[in-house]
Symmetry: C2
């Protein structure tokens, strides 16, 4: 019988930190099937008592202790969900005390600091970045002066999701510009991009993976054919190399890995929300 466990992600706010915390740890244990349950907005003793009861019932049904990843700020509420029939890993409980000692002050114990709106100006900047990515997707608007970074690459090399992630997660104004058959065989990148060479960052991909992605959109098309993919990638890489544009292979990289690598290599500041 495969080893199965229920994993609860419990938070007084969105649950996003609890999920990320638990997810990074659980991915280290292969061969176990985890049933994941997120319980956000547990911000009263009544809700906490209900959660404790649910954990208790799960332990009984599963006949094995559930795992509980908790990011509840309020101590009184937090303790209500600590019950013996589960393994509870509590993020604030573990880390807040050493920080309070180091910083020689008490923490504010205020719920909803992280992932809330603390500052409308910062928040507007983030929304502006999202709007920018939307309106400067796929070369739609040729005015790239305001961009923090401009991703270039063949169609379906991963430019759009990466730009959106850079905007949402880091407030970066990321435009993207496709390299298309019109651009190939020429000695330089499209003229429009010349003034912004220092902002360019390239994405490339393996022909096989590109074929697979394009085939899902346009099956059996010239666009998705392996030789088309191979030709376009080869030409796009040549253009980028000639222009001295750094490029990354996206084939086996997630959006997070792409975004983080680009920020790192392009030396862009990470705003953290």
């Amino acid at each position: 019988m495969p080893h199965r466990r229920t994993a609860f992600f419990i938070s007084d706010r969105t649950g996003i930190t609890a999920e990320m915390l638990g997810h990074s740890l659980l991915t280290q244990f292969e061969g176990i099937e985890f049933k994941r349950v997120t319980l956000p907005f547990i911000d009263s003793p009544e809700k906490a008592a209900q959660v404790a009861e649910r954990i208790r019932q799960t332990a009984e049904q599963d006949q094995i202790r559930p795992l509980v990843f908790s990011t509840i700020v309020n101590e009184a509420i937090r303790h209500l969900i600590h019950i013996d029939c589960a393994l509870t890993l509590d993020f604030f409980e573990v880390f807040i005390s050493p920080l309070e000692a180091e910083l020689a002050m008490e923490s504010s114990h205020t719920v909803g600091r992280s992932h809330g709106i603390q500052n409308f100006q910062e928040y507007n900047q983030r929304i502006e970045a999202v709007n920018y990515a939307m309106s400067h997707d796929d070369g739609m608007k040729p005015d790239l002066a305001e961009a923090d970074i401009i991703l270039v690459g063949v169609s379906r090399s991963g430019k759009t999701p990466t730009c959106l992630y850079l905007a949402l997660q880091y407030g970066i104004k990321a435009a993207n510009y496709p390299l298309t058959p019109e651009d190939f065989g020429k000695p330089t990148l499209p003229k429009l991009l010349h003034p912004y060479k220092h902002k360019l960052f390239g994405l490339t991909i393996s022909p096989e993976r590109l074929q697979q992605i394009r085939s899902e959109r346009k099956p059996d098309s010239r666009y998705a054919a392996l030789d088309t993919c191979r030709f376009e990638i080869q030409e796009a890489e040549a253009l980028m190399r000639n222009a001295g544009v750094t490029y990354l292979n996206t084939t086996s990289k997630s959006i997070e890995e792409l975004a983080s690598t680009i920020l790192h290599k392009a030396n862009l500041a990470r705003r953290i929300y």
Copy 2:
């Protein structure tokens, strides 16, 4: 003199978990100015030694111990950055042992499990969700049959960033459809939406905040005038109430809070990447 500290977020991969971990803790300490430095991809003893040296130098320059939030999986590398002149809060060190004991197995100690591509099919689903949100933004495509959820509300009430976040973070296919002056004064929501009533979720906002957001886009316009905003919001809310559509006020909610609340209230499964 204000209390200042350098906070390092150090990871063998993207640094996103370390940043989120550190950020949620640091927001609990008000009045301290934190200089945040993310150091991703610290995956060799050589890089770890460089990081340790950088922490040492920072401690000397700041004349106070830096804070280090680390999510390094490999123990040997992890220990190289643990130095006495900093407070190091180490995520894997603290949580992996109790999990190993509970699950009665050793963790795989594999770098890059979280935020990597583990499964192309899951990953394709996520990218498909992003493409879906892009192509079904602002009522662009009227075919809404595939949507997991459809956000409705007046222009600039927060629909687009919320849809993109739902897609990127949770792989949810989220469309959005604007309620515009053409729709007001009628007894029901636009006809196009009738078949999908069970998928509708409303966003509303305060007139003052809407005026501020619209004014940044189109200053001194009729569109941004306070009485226009007030009228549109009142009419949109009446339409949503009449149709029995749940709606949320976005005025002081972050994208994360909106997304998490919507998933929770609409009872949608959270896929975790």
